[in-house]
Amino acid sequence: MSKLAQLLIRFYQRFISPLFGPRCKYYPSCSAYALEAYRKHGFFKGTLLTVWRLLRCNPWSLGGVDYVPDKLTTEYFKIRKK
């Protein structure tokens, strides 16, 4: 499953992403982040992290540098405002 997800992301990166140009607010970009998340944490945690990242990559966020955490903590999934 995780491999399949990675394959799909690689397909996206190679063929679909160039159509839209760079657009991610974060570094590494959402797709690179997702790839890393699946590699590091497998399918379920990888999906969770990816969804959370995609939700954070919205027009109200400021973006910035955000690597895949080595260990999942509830702290990471909190909305940070102040």
Partner: protein, 445 residues
């Protein structure tokens, strides 16, 4: 997809209820969904326009980290976060657009399921009946005969009318003589539906095999789209084979625009090719116009993405052309509306947020900030993000103000060096793997 398609179906249902025409309902639907995401676009436009003011800082970073691409991008992102602007459009809106597009496919394919009031069970029955009837008809034809001739033959052999139909049913479920029909009918326990249709119209097989009415590639995979043929062609005389609620819904349903049936997959052979072509043209114009404004507002950034811009300019229209020719005309029509709306939006937003206007806005912001005498929300958020990244905000602030000490990284201990080497090696391997499309596995060392 069903989870997303169902609410979209509800919205479509509401739109259809208002204007009673699927083509116009689709326009209403586009405007509605676009209006929902409109604030996001305004926000984005402001952010992009403010970017021009950060240009000198960016140049500095580029010069400083010219050799270290990764560090350069990191610092760029940090700068954006600190200034509270980000030129990137962010991924979520794009993901949402794509999800809506693909979730719309089942809604377009199943107008009666999602939009009409037809009874769901009867609809399933009717869909199965149509596709089974097609399989049976096609197999009867492959034996160089028709259902009418078969019945005549049975009756000649002395069978009454009812007996003839019984024999016909046995024949169609005979795995040796009619393997395809037998297989199709065994999947569905409602053979009686098919038999009833045959009883009502002995010549229904010639009707269903008429290629001017039914498209062969849709009747088996998407029988629902073919429901309309029963009510529209041949004066609707075959419509009585449909279940009552399905018949009523199909008769009432206006699934076309300017006389073009929206369930049809466009082909080059007839006028339906207009939809994909128009959608590609509109897409080309949208991309061209938005790139034109991007260049005007921010020449440096535009020069950076030279090749990418070209791919975008021609890639998107080709993508929409492909979508247009492989899915029903309704989806292509949605794409046309969508592009049209995007075009209007781009022009209006760029007329409002001209660089001069943005400069004014920024002045106001600064004045406000001075009044308050405390950091803006933007700055606070930026700080929070830095804490999240595991950095001390005080240190960040210092390093951003005088970060001339980057040039030489501090001396490292042996283990740190080893770690770093391993990391670099891994990264190089990853790059190679990516380059050649191989699988890369972190655990291999």
């Amino acid at each position: 997809m069903g989870i997303i398609a169902t609410p979209l179906g509800w919205i479509m249902k509401g739109c259809y209820f208002v204007c009673k025409n699927y083509g116009i309902a689709l326009l209403l639907f586009t405007i509605l969904t676009r209006l929902i995401v409109f604030p996001l676009n305004v926000k984005q436009q402001k952010s992009t326009a403010r970017m021009t003011m950060l240009q000198p800082e960016l140049e500095k970073i580029k010069k400083k980290y010219a050799k270290n691409q990764q560090k350069m991008q990191e610092e760029q992102m940090n700068l954006y976060a600190k200034a509270g602007v980000n030129p990137m459009a962010s991924c979520l809106p794009m993901v949402i657009t794509m999800v809506i597009l693909f979730a719309l496919i089942p809604v377009i394919y199943g107008p009666l399921t999602y939009v009409s009031n037809a009874d769901k069970e009867e609809l399933t029955d009717s869909n199965n009946m149509i596709s089974n009837l097609y399989v049976v008809s096609a197999e009867v034809k492959s034996k160089d005969t028709t259902i009418e001739k078969l019945i005549e033959k049975f009756e000649k052999d002395g069978a009454t009318e009812d007996e003839a139909y019984d024999k016909l049913e046995k024949l169609f479920t005979d795995k040796d003589k009619y393997p395809k029909s037998a297989k199709a009918l065994s999947n569905d326990n409602k053979i009686s539906n098919v038999m009833d249709a045959i009883k009502a119209h002995n010549d229904i097989d010639t009707f269903i095999l008429n290629e001017n009415y039914f498209s062969t590639n849709l009747i088996q995979s998407r029988p629902e789209l073919m429901t309309f043929v029963f009510t529209e062609k041949e004066g609707g005389q075959y419509a009585d084979v449909l279940p009552t609620s399905v018949k009523a819904a199909a008769e009432d349903f206006n699934y076309s625009i300017f006389g073009l049936f929206l369930g049809k997959i466009p082909t080059m052979k007839d006028l339906s090719c207009i939809i994909p072509i128009v959608s590609a043209l509109l897409q080309l114009i949208v991309t061209f116009v938005s790139q034109h404004f991007a260049k005007k507002n921010n020449p440096d950034a535009a020069n950076m993405g030279g090749m990418g811009m070209k791919i975008m300019l021609y890639g998107m229209p080709i993508f929409s052309l492909w979508i247009g020719f492989s899915y029903p005309a309704g989806l292509g029509l949605y794409w046309c509306y969508s592009s049209l709306f995007a075009l209007g939006q781009t022009i209006v937003l760029n007329k409002i947020y001209t660089p001069e206007h943005v400069a004014e806005l920024v002045q106001k912001d600064i004045a406000k900030q001075k009044k308050k005498g405390k950091p803006t929300l933007m700055e606070k958020m930026a700080e929070a993000q830095m804490i999240q990244a595991g950095k001390d905000p005080a240190e960040i602030r210092k390093s951003l103000s005088d970060d001339e000490d980057y040039d030489e990284p501090k001396k490292k201990t042996k283990t740190e060096l080893k770690d770093e080497q391993r990391r670099r090696l891994n990264e190089a391997r990853k790059r190679m793997a990516e380059k050649y499309g191989d699988e890369y596995d972190d655990s291999q060392d």
